[in-house]
Symmetry: C2
Subunit: 221 residues, 2 copies
């Protein structure tokens, strides 16, 4: 499946995907292009190092013109016949025409256990709220803010000593684990939808897995 | 610490608390009274079996008169000098005067990973949304709907075969594990607040505990 990754920043989730690919874990993902809406984004270098085309469509050239911005991205990606768009730190709400341009859809990784804490500034919202479990969600993108169907979620404890930065780092590790898995499932055609619920073809929980449990504070505290 | 448990239904969380007490796990919790707002609630029998006073204040006698209902409950509990009120399936929003009547506060158990899915009918909301992780939250009660400071959270997978009933049963097991722990921490004076964040005195995560991680679907799916 031909994949484009859209980024804005240093692209650590892009790197996690490309490293998983290099380890042979994403045999069906054909990363054809990486596109950034910021000039000089670290993600572009990460792409070039792997021999993947690195494109830039500056969002600053399209202030207040979201349709024009999205159209320009689709034009830039047109030569690659992209089937799946993967957002890795590309924090923009996208329109229907853009979403419909990719036959396998658009995926995103969000640093929270959705539907808790959609949108921006998640980590300070989480530490301000005082949640004991946080995590990340890999999901399909719809026209809302982090509101599309969920593919995979991962949870971790929030420590008493965690500020937004520490929590961000802990959640980023979760993102780097679950996003490559989710991209692997989607690119290998294993994910289908039943209403808003994603189904993973061939997934039979191993003995004990369905009884998995994570509590925080630890119950023997 | 003198504790009253407020229930509406069969009181499975009450039973979990009383069983933990019987096992010696809640040495500082002195369960003095169980109060139901429904006549003949199973929770009342569970209390009587353990020799705990069982009280009823029928909510149906106070339709549209929340202050009167709460006042009547406080009057019923007055002889017991209750320090902590524990809500176990007592689904009512409470006023400031009621909350302030208990020096150690009011606790609740909610069948979701708050702030996701507050309020009623949680399980069908969760399966409709298609979350991959669900769980329960033990928290202090404020004047909002399931919006008070969190004490403990526990997460479990949501299986593809889960309807609301299956998910409810899986989450109930989490409630029965985390609520006695949280009540134990509060009654032994170990829980303090820093803003909205609860701190657990003497909790030093054991090696590896802080790296705990739960993802669903399982990443080796």
């Amino acid at each position: 499946m031909k994949v484009a990754v859209l980024c804005s920043g240093r692209g650590s989730n892009l790197s996690a995907l490309l490293e998983a690919k290099a380890r042979g874990e994403l045999p069906c993902a054909d990363f054809r292009a990486v596109l950034s809406d910021q000039e000089g984004a670290g993600a572009l270098d990460a792409a070039r190092v792997r021999g993947i085309d690195a494109l830039t469509v500056r969002s600053s050239d399209f202030k207040g013109d979201r349709p024009g911005f999205e159209k320009r991205i689709l034009e830039a990606l047109a030569p690659y016949s992209i089937e799946l768009a993967v957002l890795a730190g590309f924090q923009r709400v996208l329109g229907r025409a853009f979403l419909d341009a990719f036959p396998a859809g658009v995926m995103n990784i969000h640093p929270a256990l959705l539907p808790s804490f959609p949108g921006h500034m998640v980590w300070s919202k989480e530490t301000d709220y005082g949640v004991k479990l946080a995590g990340a969600t890999a999901h399909f993108v719809d026209e809302g803010v982090d509101s599309g169907p969920i593919i995979c979620q991962g949870a971790v404890p929030v420590l008493e000593t965690d500020g937004p930065d520490e929590l961000s780092a802990r959640i980023l590790k979760v993102e780097h684990r679950i996003f490559p898995a989710a991209v692997g499932w989607v690119t290998s055609g294993r994910v289908s939808m039943k209403g808003r619920t994603s189904l993973l073809k061939g997934f039979e929980p191993k003995p004990g897995q369905a009884e998995a449990f994570l509590a925080w504070p630890a119950l023997d505290a």
